[in-house]
Symmetry: none
Subunit: 410 residues, 2 copies
């Protein structure tokens, strides 16, 4: 079974955005054992899109379109699919009603163009979109399949990895290529590769490292008749890797370091509070991005100036004058203060200089101290991070989470 | 003049890498005033690549290939171009000699396959590659042009932005396509389109809307002899849009809402402090992502539990018991408390339920109150957001920034 991906959008042809959706869709097709033989990108041009869809349908069993399902006149994918399949468009009354309710609930007048989203080609059915107003489409006609997904990332990702992946797996029904991602923190890519190189020579399952922002992912991939068989082949390889990497292996697949950390805290009935200077709230943001984090995350203080360090945490001007706000002493004082103030098991603090220039004290860009306080006292670790502001903030929160996690596990 | 881009590589069809090269090439073509009408991605398959090149040459004036120029048997682009153009491949003696010297200098035996890189189609010439062993190609035949670039990033980027861009500019003989992005907040895509639809019918400059997370972008694109001429054509269109959208238009090109807000505060010598419940620090994180934000952002409190609302902000248990933590009253009290505690011009607060389930008080997922305090008192706005946790948090911080911005401007 073969597939082609058709991405729709003039912004792609102008190079204004990079087509990460097509790469994700390609991985999903590969994971279902469907060979992707071509990707095409077309602007918001009806004739060209219809021509491309017809060409793709003449070659491949499955055509997946990405984008162009929204409410505006630029959104032509729905029309193009209907024309390419020789279908009419028909309105789905329940979806039209849902759209009317959506706008009514927000007290917003619905532009008529929104009703375009309630239409589907006659041979198709809609895929529910809980994250937006444009449903997806699955059309099956003359032994060919067209799947259409919306372009916004918050709608594309869940629809692609959820109902569309499921549909394609059913459709293929044969061999699967199944992967598990092992997430590793506190080691660089080449260090990881050095200790697991012997495992990278195997052909099934394969093991491949990928450098990610401030962590390393190992992808273990097996080919087998079913996903369950593949999992049984992957399990012993994962155990070998765990024996080598120990606590550096913190989670699997989509488990983030913040989720792994919250999970550990919840298991132990422990809590954490944060005091953030350089990271400006992003450690709190990472922790609260985890559903259910309120069981373990109490809150914190964003103390971006000397005055706020005193006002919110009671850090003395003397301490800051003596050691500077970017210092081991400031980091431990901040961690201790927020822990006591909020009555948390752990207090974590980040202070540093994210750039773009050396700070008033002359502390270099990328220098940070990460403080960790428990009932037994506080310590701080010095870090020197590279990259732009965003990288430095990310690496500092990654270090903070890993310090906390290692302390919980110790 | 039109162009198509053909990316070559099975790893692209498997989704193992994202095609950032094609996006860069698309921007270069746009910058040269050459309209890119299609992008195709083909695996390492000679027949399919030859067929695609012939199709592309039948439609476009210029075809740019990316990848597949290396020494291995997988590298088929050179052969495919020769076949598609009806050319033979011929060895360029100087390039063959350079390859021999390259390997000799490294004391490495040269595999014969490396000599493939010294070959070129008869109608073509090679582009020198100072960063690798595979030269690029420019072939001109029957009024059509094929440009071939190597895939490794360290070779592709300098060749694309250097000699290839220069060649394409010469080829086009002057015209450029230049865009400006207008960033709009507080209106949905279809509402924006409804009020500016008359501007979307023009052909030069064109106006096109794009939905982005919690905002809308309008791209105004002009074709002209020079970038300056294009800017002069874009200016009056931008003024028309500004007259229609007013303060909803907050910035241009890469200016984020947080950067526009910090900029306004710094201009006026004003400051802001935040109190975040549902958003967990992400409003602070957005504000501090802006270089130089310490001039206007003082800090804040992350108050994820009832206890922390009392401990850090002094919000009374009575108020929370009476109205609940997700309420207009809680939002205004939080905004007022953080403003006073940190001595800021503005206090901004976010409280709500980001999901995934209704909270203890039964407040629905996505419900939020955004509080704003000034010296004249505090108000709160109710919001009901859709999507996954991340979307809800994003939309709440977007609303908060927009409320703050409108207050500063009022």
């Amino acid at each position: 079974m073969t597939a082609e991906i058709v991405s729709v959008g003039t912004e792609l042809l102008l190079g204004q955005i990079v087509d990460t959706h097509a790469a994700l869709m390609a991985r999903i097709l590969a994971g279902c054992g469907i060979g992707c033989t071509r990707r095409s990108t077309i602007g918001d041009n009806l004739d060209r899109l219809v021509g491309t869809l017809k060409d793709s349908l003449s070659r491949a069993d499955v055509v997946v379109t990405i984008g162009g399902l929204g409410p505006t006149i630029d959104d032509i994918t729905r029309d193009a699919i209907a024309i390419a399949l020789g279908d009419e468009l028909e309105e789905v009354p329940e979806v039209a009603e849902k759209l009317r309710q959506f706008f009514a609930a927000r007290n917003v007048r619905m532009a008529d163009s929104n009703l375009r989203q309630a239409k589907k080609p006659t041979s198709g059915r809609q895929i529910d979109n809980p994250n937006g107003t444009a449903p997806g489409l699955i059309c099956e006609k003359n032994g060919k399949v067209v799947v259409a997904l919306p372009g916004p990332k918050g709608e594309f990702d869940p629809m692609a990895t959820g109902p569309v992946r499921h549909f394609l797996e059913q459709l293929q029904g044969g061999q699967v290529i199944h992967s598990r991602v092992l997430r590793i923190v506190g080691m660089g890519e080449s260090s990881v590769e050095e200790v697991i190189r012997h495992l990278m020579e195997a052909e099934n399952p394969t093991v491949a490292p990928y450098a990610q922002p401030a962590e390393v992912h190992l992808r273990v991939t097996a080919r087998a008749a079913t996903r369950e068989d593949a999992d049984r082949m992957i399990d012993p390889v994962v155990e070998q890797i765990r024996a080598i990497l120990g606590n550096h292996l913190y989670g699997f697949n989509d488990t983030t370091l913040e989720a792994a950390t919250i999970d550990l805290l919840v298991q132990r009935g422990e809590t954490v509070a944060v005091a953030e200077s350089m990271s400006g709230g992003s450690l709190g943001a990472r922790l609260t991005s985890v559903p259910g984090s309120s069981k373990a995350f109490l809150g914190g203080a964003i103390v971006y100036t000397v005055d706020t360090k005193r006002a919110l945490l009671g850090i003395s001007d003397e301490l800051l004058a003596e050691h500077g706000p970017v210092s081991e002493e400031a980091a431990t004082a901040m961690a201790t203060a927020i822990r006591e103030k909020l009555g948390a098991t752990y207090g974590v603090a980040i202070t540093g200089n994210a750039g773009p220039t050396a700070d008033v004290d002359g502390k270099p860009v990328g220098l940070a101290y990460i403080g960790l306080a428990t009932s037994e006292g506080a310590t701080a670790e010095r870090g020197q991070y590279r990259g732009i502001r965003e990288d430095i903030q990310r690496r500092s929160t990654q270090t903070a989470l890993n310090l906390l996690r290692n302390k919980i596990l110790s």
